[in-house]
């Protein structure tokens, strides 16, 4: 299973702060984004545009491999400080 974490406005839109989904073997982040958009259509626009994604607490690129047991977080634009 992949743990997915939602923060700030994405948490509000999805209605929870965490979800778990299973994936077929290992896939790239680009492929995982398509799964996310189908699973969470209410935030598909954010996934295409402003959201950064981390895998196991490190920023991920479109080619990053996602595998069973990973923690993926959807990160809206930061506003700390």
């Amino acid at each position: 299973m992949i743990t997915i974490k939602f923060f700030a406005m994405l948490k509000n839109k999805v209605g929870r702060d965490e979800a778990a989904i299973s994936i077929p073997g290992q896939i790239t982040l680009m492929e995982f984004k398509d799964i996310l958009k189908k699973e969470f259509p209410c935030i598909s626009g954010f996934i295409d545009k402003s959201v950064l994604i981390s895998v196991n607490q490190e920023f991920a690129a479109s080619g990053t491999i996602i595998k069973d047991g990973d923690e993926v977080a959807l990160l809206p634009p930061f506003s700390g400080g």
């Binding site: 923060f7 977080a73 930061f78 400080g81």
Partner: protein, 140 residues
């Protein structure tokens, strides 16, 4: 206590400065950036702020900023503390302390660190106004 923290409770600027100073007798200049909660944002009166973080990743990023600041700016020590949870107007939000042998290195490191914090640290601000709550999207 760690020099890099994400915490709900307020911090004492003077106690944190003393802790940084205690790390070396070679420190000759200490620069402090203290971010506080302002009462107006984009023309709207702010009632209160709330900060949320991705705790594990945010602490990792703050530690990374500290390590890079010490490596790249010729400073001796740096502290980075950010509060989360509800914060009233006027209260402390974030503290960065840069300590160096000479002031110029401390000024440069401190300015770089707050910019880098805003750029890479997963922390989000929600502003409560009379019109409702808004998650702030763009960096100030």
């Amino acid at each position: 206590m760690s020099l890099v923290r994400i915490q709900k409770k307020d911090f004492s600027v003077s106690e944190e400065v003393e802790m940084v100073k205690a790390s070396s007798m070679s420190i000759g200049g200490v620069v402090v950036f203290l971010g506080t909660a302002r009462d107006v944002s984009k023309g709207e009166d702010i009632i209160e702020l709330e900060f949320e973080s991705y705790p594990e990743m945010a602490e990792k990023k703050l530690n990374d900023i500290r390590e890079r600041a010490i490596k790249n700016f010729n400073i001796i020590e740096m502290a980075l503390i950010h509060r989360i949870g509800k914060i009233a107007i006027g209260e402390n939000i974030v503290l960065i302390i840069a300590a160096a042998r000479h002031r110029n290195d401390a000024f440069m490191a401190c300015e770089w660190a707050i910019s880098e914090l805003k750029r890479i640290t997963p922390i989000w601000k929600k502003e409560t106004t009379k019109k409702g709550d808004v998650w702030v999207e763009e960096r100030p």
